[in-house]
Symmetry: C3
Subunit: 153 residues, 3 copies
């Protein structure tokens, strides 16, 4: 089953990849490494839900925000690669959570990304990661996640 | 026009590159990737302006802090490379903004870096990036930015 | 003297490397780069001390937490490599400090990591780095540090 077929079997659809609107781009190559710009849980209407763990968002909802963010990341990867099966490995994630100072369950939130990556990509989806707490995030969104992908020759 | 000539045409001067004072260094090579240590908006007298977006610094001033930070980054790159034209691509930035919890315009601040990189380096200056909010930064400065550069063989 | 012998001469012991408990892994390869997942100052009993610089932890204690974190990082590297002498260079650290908004001495805390890396690995231990302040960290711990290592062919 290709990653695209796996997504469909999970009832998930990749959104359109973002159009660059500034002097930065959604992805950049360095040899066979593909760097993805940080993505967030953007809805299909282009908006973000504001949320801060430990204040006004539950871990369950944070997990869902991370899962949605992952669809946005996979959309960018697909735009760069054509086929998601070209991903040899998700090397590294930086999973950033908008949270109160005494929140400590960032890993449970970022699992919303890690779990989906392995569901869709299998072993290629396993990755090194850091799950950490941010002072704030763009659009007051709950999570932002960036990734480095290793692409097959 | 070389990047150095472009800087001059913009009326900008690169400061002296920092002298390492601890067990870390301003840049480190890995093959043809050049990793820059995080830089901030250090003035020529060695000081930093303390600032926190959403509290005591405007977005316009934050943009200027990011632009100054970029000059410091380019100074380190020039020290490592000799000529800035050796930069094939700015692969990835992590743009970190010292901000209040409900600040959400980090991209506008980090544009102060992204815009200058493209002004000076042209297409080589386009990069993947994440623009995020920090709980605090060294010297209570407003921004810290780290970069990965791909260097021509 | 090998890095392992140097550790012993400093009276330091590497803990057991962590067992992956989720869909992410403690390290991931990309060519001859080894990416380490963020590690914290986990005690041998598996617990973490909660701490926030500028609030309830001194810089001296933060330095010690960073030093302990480095032992946990080296334990993962040893598990990946067999011998720490295979490390050609610690390329880049991201040193993340749990701190109050007006804390500004993140570098002094992360020096607890940088100093130990150079003590143990010599010149190979010199690295580019960013030392920054986080809104919060998992388990309310004081520091989290991730690293990219360049490994000898
Ligand atoms: Ca933060």
């Amino acid at each position: 089953m290709t990653p695209e077929e796996k997504l469909a079997s999970l009832g998930l659809t990749l959104p359109s990849a973002p159009v660059p609107v500034a002097n930065y781009v959604p992805f950049r190559w360095a040899g066979n490494l593909l760097y993805l710009s940080g993505q967030g849980p953007k809805r299909t209407d282009g908006t973000y839900k504001a949320g801060r763990l430990g204040r006004d968002m539950t871990i369950e909802d944070g997990y869902a925000e991370a899962r949605l963010t992952t669809l946005n990341m996979l959309a960018v990867a697909k735009q760069a690669l054509g086929e998601l099966s070209r991903i040899e490995a998700v090397v590294k994630l930086l999973g950033m959570v908008n949270a109160e100072p005494d929140f400590g369950d960032h890993p449970k939130v970022i699992n919303g990304c890690s779990d989906l990556l392995v569901e869709v990509l299998g072993e290629a989806g396993r990755h090194a990661r850091s799950a950490v707490g941010m002072g704030s995030l763009p659009n007051r969104m709950a999570v932002e996640i960036e990734a480095i992908l290793l692409i097959r020759n």
